[in-house]
Symmetry: D2
């Protein structure tokens, strides 16, 4: 059994030694340890991979021991993940297809080690792509009248299929607090600007209007504040006066694909931690 | 005589032919021609370099001909620059020295083909660098009481030394409308963020607070709206959770130096045109 | 009728005026003109887009006039393309699927304005992707014994389907002089390194071995010298000691996709010219 | 007392625990721990910062304990650095001044926490810069006849001034095995290409000739194989057909400055380890 441990807690001497000692005593071999201290906030972060090749303690037993022997004493917030299990990922889309094509191509290539139980959309437009890649597609139209009902239906689907996290692959709707509450730091969005610049609607138009020389894309966890959640990944590309808004959109598509896929891969590999509306990204 | 011509005017057929014909008839050889059409605004831009090796028409004669034979018919806004003349550049600084060191090093290396009649600062701190590079240094303190007087003194210095353009090399004061009016699109500022994100004070702190994965620097012409003038050049660099605000400042210094110097060189080479609070940057 | 003209010829005064005059006299409106002089080689390059809205001279008539009235006098090499025609693009693949998925997704999204009559591969592995996107797939195994026969078969397919250009989307075979001769500067390859570093086989392994901090991808026209043809586009990404060869491969895939697609789009838009084993890329 | 420990040794279970236990028992607080395993080579690397606020064991005592209690058992290669001591850095230059200006400006700004006992050059050209920044300048001409004598003189200067490491800031001479042997992995060079492309003389000319779309700079430790030592840092910038060799040189200068300064700062902070002609760069 291989496990990955995430910890954050108030910084104080001795934590690293205590944690490594803990795993050593149970016959675990530490494959990877990365630690970070937010000096300003006084918070200690750690990500640790441990292999129990011959001495599998069992996941629940291990969790219990961590709770009792480590977490309490150091006031740790923590998570323990067993490696090798494929998380279940749902994809939400509207009408733009580039991120969907990209995610499904990576999925079919074996690049994303997940299961994809279904795609949800508020439009029928991309059903043919879901069909092409043989993934169930649920069209749930959203409008002012049926909004609550639609979101309830979304949540039911997510829960009945035991979905672990959600990817908004250019889903052009604001996600409800209902879903955000059910999936805290587990809904990944792609926004087509280098946030915090150009939050909200039509960022490429706004960027063109402002005459920037660089455009970007940002992947972040969704919170109730629009486009203001913890940033996972950003990238940019240069533009100039020769580029029209249409060119921005076209160049931006490639950014969005890469930035979103990178964020999804980091999330799957348990390399992201959230604290204080920011992320710690382990490598 | 070599000249560079800048034009912008309403787009319509025949402009390129008319302009090239104009120079051809006067015995000029067009060394470079770049043109751009802002489709949305319907505006045509052109930058043209022409060599009158054997048929020097004289600068003022040429200007007169352009006004009569080209500009009127096509409703052109235009400028004509004689190449080979060294423009006069003033530098404004406060307490940060990295951009000043960088500009003066480039100047002494012959990389910037300008004259630098003086440096103005609101503090004494960097006088030693001016001395080291043998450039006059005027300390003009600015505070609430003497603000108008200080700005008048600045303007006098600029005008009496026939300064052509001003570089704010991390000058931590808001420049007065008096100066902006006297030097429209001829005051170059460096702002330490990828604008429009983090305009105003303490952008590195704000970027750190937001948890961005990319920081940037922006060079722009100064207008009366703070940090909102036409952008000349931007660049970015990646950061992560391991970087403190101090690291942002340190990484940002290198960006600021390069971005500001690039903008200054573009300005010197007459490769920038301003229209509609945006720039056209010819290569 | 809109046309795009490519010219290169010995540099001398008056070319721009002559060309613009030529189109003006035929009632054409020049939409775009970009020109470049290779000072060292003394060669003039031009790309010009012209719209004959009301005075369509006919493509062959126009070509004849260019030949007689411009090309001869200025010793021009030139090409004239009528816009709005979809070129026919063949794709060659082996076993890697990421570039194929990317090209076909872009094609189906309408991002690539081409027709794709077929895909050729030396293996059966990717047939399911061709099927998924509904493109004919020809498997032509290549080995030492049948090499000439296989290449002849490839060429027959290309010619019988009137293919305009070929994209090697990670085709792991050396292309024969037969094909290169039939498609000069019309076979686009993607190589997974920043050429000229790591030409030849296994560039990611070589890059890992050398301990570089940057890896890249290069798209180029295929010539008889392996990985030495005119470079169209390059891009890079950072790596560090934490990355294994497998990580290089994974990061590189994204580079390869973007770099190849960018090169293909430049080629389709007639924005590339080749001279002296180098490219001029108009924007 | 704060110390930084570098370790590399054959990978096996228990190393992290043993090391953290070692420092814990001596009352040290681990401020930072980063570890890396080269899976292919089976080598474990660690960098650890430890603070002995109240229990200063003394540097030599600590070294002795490490040797006996850790290093032997785990077959470690290791180094221990006491923080807060300013290393002594010599600079070698020839005729190019940009890297020298940049390093000295950073030095005077307090950005580089070193002492600079002197600059060595084979030419008189840059003496005025040394004077300007008030650093001793030794001109030691090198030619075929006096080569051995010159190098002996260089080494004498380095040793008599207790120089810790050497920076070749565009020193256009091949450094002798004599110096390399005396300063293994302590001579930092800047090469003006993205190595391994364009090793040797005139890389910008070679890059221009090849028609690359990206140029770069590489900082590396000097070994006896020319331009083949362990790479510390690389960066690149885009170029196009509009850029002449002169433009490459000009754009490259900025790269060289940043890349060299970054490498120097990593070296000063003990964030580089060398193994197998590659570097591990801790953040």
């Amino acid at each position: 059994m291989k496990v990955t441990l995430h910890i954050h807690c108030p910084d104080r001497p001795g934590i690293i030694r205590a944690v490594t000692q803990f795993f050593h005593l149970r016959g675990g071999n530490i494959l990877y340890l990365d630690q970070h201290v937010d000096q300003e906030a006084g918070v200690f972060f750690m990500r640790l991979e441990c292999d129990f090749a011959q001495n599998d303690p069992g996941l629940s037993m291990l969790k219990e021991s961590i709770a009792i022997e480590l977490a309490e004493q150091y006031h740790m917030e923590w998570d323990l993940y067993q490696e090798g299990l494929r998380p279940r990922m749902a994809i939400f889309v509207s009408k733009y297809n580039h991120c969907l094509y990209d995610l499904l191509s990576r999925f079919r290539s074996g690049e994303l080690e997940v299961d994809i139980p279904f795609i949800i959309s508020n439009h029928e437009d991309l059903r043919h792509i879901a069909d092409q890649f043989d993934i169930p597609y649920h069209c749930i139209p959203v409008n002012k009248v049926n909004k609550h009902e639609a979101e309830t239906r979304q949540l039911e689907l997510l829960q009945s299929h035991k979905v672990d996290f959600v990817v908004l692959a250019r889903y052009m709707q604001i996600v409800s607090p209902l879903l955000i509450g059910a999936y805290p730091n587990r809904i990944i969005n792609i926004h087509h600007s280098f946030l915090p610049a150009f939050a909200g609607a039509k960022p490429y138009h706004a960027a063109f209007e402002r005459g920037v020389k660089i455009i970007g894309a940002t992947s972040h966890y969704v919170t109730e504040d629009l486009d203001a959640g913890p940033i996972i990944e950003q990238d940019v590309t240069t533009v100039s006066h020769v580029h029209t808004v249409r060119d921005f959109v076209s160049k931006g598509r490639d950014l969005e694909k890469i930035v979103l896929a990178t964020a999804v891969k980091l999330h799957i590999a348990h390399k992201t931690m959230v604290y204080n509306n920011k992320t710690v990204i382990f490598y």
